[in-house]
């Protein structure tokens, strides 16, 4: 498979067409947004956190295949995880979830979802 075919593997395209956990939560405890001004991509993440654990998660993402798939996989990963654990999530972890080669200029697409997540965790820590 060529690099480009790997980048747009069937799983990525599937997630683009039907993102996981797309939509809203009925009663989110936390939410945050991020956008990439140069491309116009936007992502909004909602979480329901109880006792330091993510119970439910959802997102609305408008963007390219890479950002939509990236946010989908990230949000899927959050469910049932402790915030303590999620605090450690790094760029590499999200790239690993995607599992496809990402060129430098597309990194900000792949990592779009991390920004609202970090913001949520930051707010929680500030409150604590």
């Amino acid at each position: 498979m060529s690099d480009i075919e790997q980048m747009y593997k069937e799983v990525i395209l599937d997630l683009y067409r039907s993102p996981l956990h797309a939509g809203h939560l009925d009663h989110p405890s936390h939410e945050a947004s991020a956008s990439n001004p140069s491309c116009g991509d936007v992502c909004h993440i909602e979480l329901l956190v109880k006792n330091g654990k993510v119970i439910e998660a959802a997102h609305q993402t408008s963007g390219c295949a890479i950002s939509t798939a990236g946010v989908s996989l990230l949000v899927d990963h959050l469910i049932e995880k402790d915030i303590k654990e999620l605090e450690k999530l790094a760029d590499e972890d999200v790239l690993q979830m995607l599992g496809v080669p990402i060129t430098h200029n597309r990194l900000k697409c792949a990592l779009l979802g991390l920004r609202p997540l970090k913001e949520i965790i930051q707010t929680m820590n500030n409150v604590r």
């Binding site: 480009i4 075919e5 491309c39 116009g40 408008s62 390219c64 697409c109």
Partner: protein, 399 residues
Amino acid sequence: MKNIRHQFPLLKNYKDLVYLDNAATTQKPQSVIKTVTQFYQRQNANVHRGAYKLSDTSSRLYLQAHKTIADFIDAREDEIIFNSGATEGINTLAYSLCKDIDSKSNVVITQMEHHSNLIPWAEMAKRKGFGLRVIPFDHQSQALDLDALDTLIDENTKVVSIIHVSNVLGVISPVDAIIKRARAVGAYTIIDACQSVAHMPLSMKALDCDFCVFSGHKIYGPTGIGVLYGKRALLSKMDPFMYGGGMVGMLTDDSIAWNDLPMKFEAGTPNIAGAIGLAAAVEFLQEIGMDVVKEHSISLTKYAVEALGSVSGVRLYASSAQRMGVLPLSVTGVHSHDVASVFDSENIAVRSGQHCATPIVRSFTEEGIVRASVAVYNDEKDIDRLIIALEKVKKMFKV
């Protein structure tokens, strides 16, 4: 046009590259690279200063560069101010012209502006409390809507600053009508010629604008050099934008007289190599002839518009507009970034996204726009490759 591509070392180094991101920046011909290299190897010294031969040479070349640019846009050499680029040009004008503006005044731009001709005015409007008015783009007629021009530009309008050719759509603004109306109310007029200057002959006399800005790197010159043209009569009575060395005429204990034009507006050591390199780029264009360049841009754009029209599932924005050199597209069901990535896999360089012109892009789509833009070294084969790549996008994304 023949024998153009081989004058560009980068294009020779990447034989398979189809470079269609020329609205962002163009590649550089050998003559420009050689001029800049030679300057640093044989002519480098600061300008306007030393009594020695080298400084004399560099000063002469730097002055000559003003003259070359002046001839190119049909202006006087003392009306050509070198700066770092269009962004600096508009910012200095925004600061200068808004200095004494009151909250009853207004500034008029268009919906097609690049952020560099929007944000400086928006910021000034916020600080000074004046109104920022926008000439809208009409999607029906695919042109700027001048119906309300006479109310948009009124007695309180102080500045009218408009893009000449849209960097997103390639659509040409009706600058004559807008400048005429601005003149009638006594407003300053500014033309952002970043895109137009690459594709058509420009005459400051014929345009009759007060100011005009463009960047060297979009017309085959180096990065970091740009031009601000201003009418001599206006520049003479305006205060300097920046203060420092090189712009002072007479300095006594209690008074300062500004240097002559254009030095009055070129404080500090200028980008000498950039200016000389830009002059070489202009000479490269003059050798081809701007009429020939224009003809090439028109015919290649037309060829592309027709070719794109035959590809199903591909939308060309403002498809029937009068346009120059820029082709804004989308593939139905595929985000612009993903299209550009697939193009890249075929060695085709295009831009995708918002193109620093959010208002006009958003008026068409939230998904960003794929933009192919042509230059003198592009030909029909490049467009054919683009069409083939579009088919690949459709196949990969099953649309």
